[in-house]
């Protein structure tokens, strides 16, 4: 390097740098040119060209999924920290803590994270367990052969309200539903469970049970509507606003097929859950295992359509399910029902949206288990 620099004589390096970058005064430039050899000048000008080449190199875009990788790494970090916290309790010096990325999470976030570690442990257990099961299930493509449902965590966005409140009923072909979210309905929400009365022998399905089934991928919402596209766009609008419900674009074909195919022997096209159907319905019609808000008759104009299956990602909790029932009823004018499915459906795990990437930094009280809820939309005439 010295020999490389020797060609510039005794000229100050800062001056030479300025010459290469062209930010010298004319007097200084002249000074450089008088003191540097011809070879040195050639090198200076070549350096100037190098700098321009370097500037001309285009941007390189980050690979897709980089931020998701950050979230994964942080989860791993938290796991390691938790494991080491446990070691600390066992008398291992704190200095032995292992972290993947340098020091343990520090500062405000770190403190907040550490304080949530107990909750996070449960959360990650679900995440890891669910994640391990989702892929094999999808690869096998078979329903009902996996364990508990895929539970992907996402925060409950701030300001989340009851689903029914997100998008109040708007005039459609259907007359007003009569559902008005208000004190009366809040009172109703405080009741032990909506009436799921059924003359059948089986015990009633409560909302709490429905929430558990949702987590196990064994819950379906069945709704009636006069216009499925209207319903779809309504759900999409809810999605855009953020909230406890998100409309997913992908519906596994196998799930849709199983939910839309009447089982053999069913007089009304929706058979009771018997036989070895891939996804067997535990009940159908007015069966005992459904949450059934009494259907209202409606004089609405009906746009005929074939039943379809939509997929919602929802918070796996009874409040969300209850809100969903109310909202569907308010929107369509028809009662929606929650049905138990005998075996877990092969549903993929939900992915957090970009704005939910940092769910783990929110208060633990805001963490919600997310699950996928297939929604069967039928025209009103169907039973």
């Amino acid at each position: 390097m010295k020999s490389e620099l020797a060609q510039f004589g005794t000229v100050d390096e800062a001056l030479l740098a300025g010459y290469v970058e062209g930010d010298l005064t004319p007097e200084d430039e002249l000074r450089v040119e008088r003191q540097v050899s011809r070879e040195g000048m050639a090198s200076l000008l070549a350096m100037r060209a190098d700098a321009q080449t370097l500037r001309s190199m285009g941007e390189v875009a980050a690979p897709a999924g980089l931020l998701a990788g950050v979230a994964d790494a942080i989860e791993r970090d938290l796991l390691l920290n938790m494991r080491d916290e446990g070691e600390d309790l066992g008398g291992v010096p704190a200095g032995r803590r292992r972290t993947r990325h340098g020091p343990a999470l520090g500062g405000k976030f770190g403190h907040a994270m550490r304080s949530r570690q107990a909750a996070l442990a449960a959360v990650l257990a679900l995440l890891v367990g669910g994640g391990a099961l989702v892929l094999p299930t999808l690869m096998r493509g078979g329903p009902g052969r996996s364990g508990p449902g895929p539970l992907v965590l996402a925060p409950r966005p701030e300001g989340e309200r009851d689903l029914a409140l997100l998008d109040p009923p708007v005039p459609t072909e259907i007359p007003a539903s009569g559902f008005e979210p208000g004190p009366a309905h809040r009172d109703l929400a405080l009741e032990p469970a909506p009436s799921m009365a059924d003359p059948g022998a089986k015990p009633e399905l409560t909302l709490a049970q429905a929430a558990r089934l949702l987590g196990e991928r064994r819950l379906v919402l069945r709704a009636k509507a006069t216009n499925v596209e209207d319903l779809r766009s309504w759900l999409a609008r809810i999605d855009e606003r953020g909230g406890s419900v998100r409309l997913c674009e992908f519906v596994p074909g196998e799930v849709a097929h199983a939910l839309l195919t009447p089982e053999p022997g069913a007089p009304d096209g929706g058979a009771p859950g018997r036989g070895p159907a891939p996804i067997a319905m535990a009940s159908e019609g007015e069966g005992p295992d459904r949450i059934d808000l009494r259907e209202r008759t409606s004089g609405a104009l009906v746009t005929r359509f074939e039943p379809v299956v939509l997929m919602l990602e929802v918070n796996a909790e009874s409040q969300t399910l209850e809100a969903a029932l109310r909202a569907f009823k308010a929107r369509t004018g028809f009662d929606a029902v929650l049905e138990e499915v005998a075996e877990p459906m092969p549903l993929p795990g939900a992915r957090p949206a970009a704005d939910e990437l940092l769910w783990w930094t929110r208060p633990a009280s805001e963490w919600k288990t997310r699950a996928l809820l297939p929604v069967v939309i039928e025209p009103p005439g169907m039973k």
Partner: protein, 241 residues
């Protein structure tokens, strides 16, 4: 005076005042626990940081790994950002530290493996001395597992040559050149990112440029004559040669 036209600073790191103000606002909100703001910040920076890492290592996967490490450090330490420097400078400093740490560790690892290889060869009573053959084998062995310099993203031969040459200068010199030319940082920002006195930045930049030029020439590039680079005839009398 050289007549090669100067390009203005690229301004890749040079944001508009509005952008800088918005990012500062995001940082303040992120410090206050606003996760949306922090997410927004990360999304805004991921490309810039990846570009820095990629130019430092010229390997996509490694650059992605380094970028992730840097972003994680940003998340972990956002509450320590005091606003005295520009947010972009602070973030790039973290990123550059991550890159330099990795490259230093790699250098140590490579050095250790070379030493081990030399010892092993010596114990085996190899007929190869410390001369050319041994050096050849060492060079081959040492580079066999190193990732190739990824120059596929460069648009022309000159850029590819420069990318290869960058890989041959020291990581610190590479960093300074990337900060100055590829990212458009000013001297003060470079001093801050590199943790060096402001008064030494210009000379460091010049030494880095000289080292890069030497690397380019060692790769077979010929230094064009000053005349070929556009010196005007009337400037000739300034040479004194």
């Amino acid at each position: 005076m050289g007549s090669l036209p100067h390009q203005p600073r690229s301004g890749r790191a040079g944001q508009t005042p509005e952008d800088a103000a918005h990012e500062l606002d995001l940082a303040r909100r992120a410090k206050a626990g606003d996760q949306e703001a922090l997410s927004d910040l990360l999304a805004r920076y991921q490309d810039r940081l990846f570009a820095v890492c990629f130019r430092m290592v010229h390997h996509r996967e490694l650059a992605a790994d380094l970028t992730q490490d840097a972003l994680i450090k940003v998340i972990q330490h956002i509450d320590t950002y005091d606003g005295r420097s520009k947010l972009s400078t602070w973030v790039i400093r973290i990123t550059m530290n991550v890159c330099l740490s990795r490259l230093r560790a790699e250098k140590l690892r490579k050095h250790a493996s070379l030493e081990a290889y030399a010892k092993a060869t010596s114990k085996e009573g190899s007929t190869m001395g410390a001369g050319g053959g041994f050096q050849l084998r060492l060079a081959g062995g040492a580079h066999a597992k190193e990732p190739d310099v990824d120059v596929g993203v460069e648009q022309n031969e000159q850029q590819r040559l420069l990318a290869r040459a960058l890989d041959r200068v020291s990581p610190e010199q590479r960093a300074i050149l990337i900060l100055r030319d590829a990212r458009g940082l000013d001297y003060e920002q470079i001093a801050e990112v590199m943790g060096v006195p402001g008064g030494t930045v210009k000379s460091r930049i010049f030494r880095a440029r000289a080292a890069l030029r030497q690397a380019i020439e060692s790769l077979g590039a010929v230094v064009p004559d000053a005349d070929a680079l556009g010196r005007r005839p009337d400037e000739e009398d300034g040479f004194g040669s």
